[in-house]
Symmetry: C2
């Protein structure tokens, strides 16, 4: 399957030598002066134009150096329909450059509603066609079915929340179950059969991945045992306090001996690095490129 | 607090004598011939116009008779940015007629992302300003905080998934926990303090509500014990097989002795009733009005 997400991602990452994913979280109050237009309030139609210009400039910087970007749809929804139009254009631009797009949407719903979400973002005919998306498992395995069907047909990637990076992730995800194990472990176990089934022919990695926060590295090894073929989406690298070593704890040696098996996402550290709060285009480019290079170097070193 | 959601909803329901909420799930292949335009594919820009005309006509029929409508955002996202523009116009229309809008979005995310979702849909300055929305608790209590803060300030309603109406809801929600109880029970317990805090001055009902499916009535009484002040959003009435009696099982007698304490949602039964698949405007209106009347009568009777 030519478009198998895990195969495409892993191959590109092997070429690049690192698993960095750039998260696109356009906070309105942090858009650099270089791109700001009008009042920068959500009501102002120029705000969406500013966000679009900013993100396309980021894409210009990062597309040659990373395998995948991860737009967080909440920040686009914050701008209403104009925000979704920006997301559509951004995703098209990224895919036209062979940069994979993982939509961070954490959707979870039932029956025809889940099918609606799957059709909105994955596969031919999607409104905003992405290569992969994140999902929430609370509603149960049947809520994942329309997404799994799509992945079976077209190879799209799915990342199900297992253990998130926020302090409150302990409230329910860590709950011990009668009979042993935690809720997050039960979610991981429930995915094992389909994760095996959705392995890619080229690399053996599965298009059914999971979200495992970098802030709780102990969990990573447990989830890796349960899901040997699933890519880990590791948020919380950089700004949220996770180190490169911690982020890679569930990764395993690939054919060249370097660690692989997931993607490590950094958003704020690359979108808003020191020195980027400027209206000077050259300085801005330099600040972003340096931040990108630093993150890549750190992860590349940690993969060895 | 003038705009307290639970107060507004409950007072209007007492006037109307029933808890029916009309769910707006615009399935493209079910839009009646009367409203269809062009190919009705998501790619065709005329499709959004057709959906808008259909839903505004539904709103005309139902606004005088129900307290609240519940648009399911997945079906709008299915149409990309044009779909979100339809949702924006629909919500404005509904609110201008004093029909409450509960957005079925089931969002759940962390920190600034959760704040982004809250700002997108609730309170002054929202992109699509609704009166209430549904939330997913898997990420933990801190993921609910930005929504709770907004409700504290402006009275907006929140409905957290506790026990959903799909068969797979048993996979995780019913898991027994070490020390007793189920996961859905643990979620309900975690909400008790804030539910009490967000009670309305007029009716005592809380703007922090929960989703409890009509297909598992046994759960309703358990959740009611844990959350005596929370409104229940009960999906799955009608099409999904729940009866009026079952839907009202967690409801309690109000000041006039009639059952109250939630809203019972029906979507397909009212949007696509028998006889509505027509291009005759009069017949269509009749079919929808009859279906609406039938559901209202059934629920009104069951409330006594």
């Amino acid at each position: 399957m030519e478009n198998h997400f895990a195969d495409r991602l892993t191959r590109r990452q092997r070429q690049l030598g690192h698993p960095l994913c750039v998260g696109l979280d356009p906070h309105l109050d942090r858009v650099p002066p270089l791109f700001r237009r009008g009042s920068m309030t959500p009501e102002d139609p120029r705000t969406a134009d500013a966000v679009e210009a900013f993100l396309l400039a980021i894409l210009d910087r990062v597309a040659p150096h990373v395998a995948v970007i991860k737009p967080q749809i909440a920040f686009f929804e914050r701008l209403g329909w104009r925000g979704l139009r920006v997301l559509e254009r951004l995703v098209e631009q990224a895919r036209s450059r062979n940069t994979l797009v993982l939509l961070d949407a954490k959707r979870g719903d039932i029956g025809s509603t889940a099918a609606g979400y799957a059709a909105a973002y994955l596969g031919p005919g999607a409104a905003i066609r992405c290569d992969a998306m994140t999902l929430n498992p609370y509603l149960g395995r049947d809520s994942l079915v329309p997404f799994l069907e799509r992945s079976r047909r077209g190879g799209e990637g799915l990342f199900v929340l297992v253990k998130t990076s926020n302090p409150g992730s302990g409230d329910f995800q860590d709950r011990r179950l009668d009979g042993g194990g935690s809720l997050s472990g039960a979610v991981a176990e429930a995915l094992a059969g389909e994760a095996r089934e959705l392995r890619g022919p080229a690399t053996g990695w599965s298009s059914l991945g999971v979200v495992v926060g970098a802030t709780y590295p102990g969990e990573s090894e447990k989830v890796r045992e349960l899901l040997p073929y699933s890519l880990f989406l590791v948020p919380g690298y950089g700004a949220q306090g996770g180190s490169a070593k911690a982020a890679l704890r569930g990764f395993v040696p690939g054919p060249d001996g370097r660690l692989e098996g997931g993607l490590v996402s950094s958003s704020r550290g690359i979108l808003y690095p020191p020195g980027s709060d400027t209206d000077d285009a050259t300085r801005w480019e330099q600040a972003v490129s340096e931040a990108l290079e630093r993150s890549i170097d750190e992860l590349r070193t940690a993969c060895v």
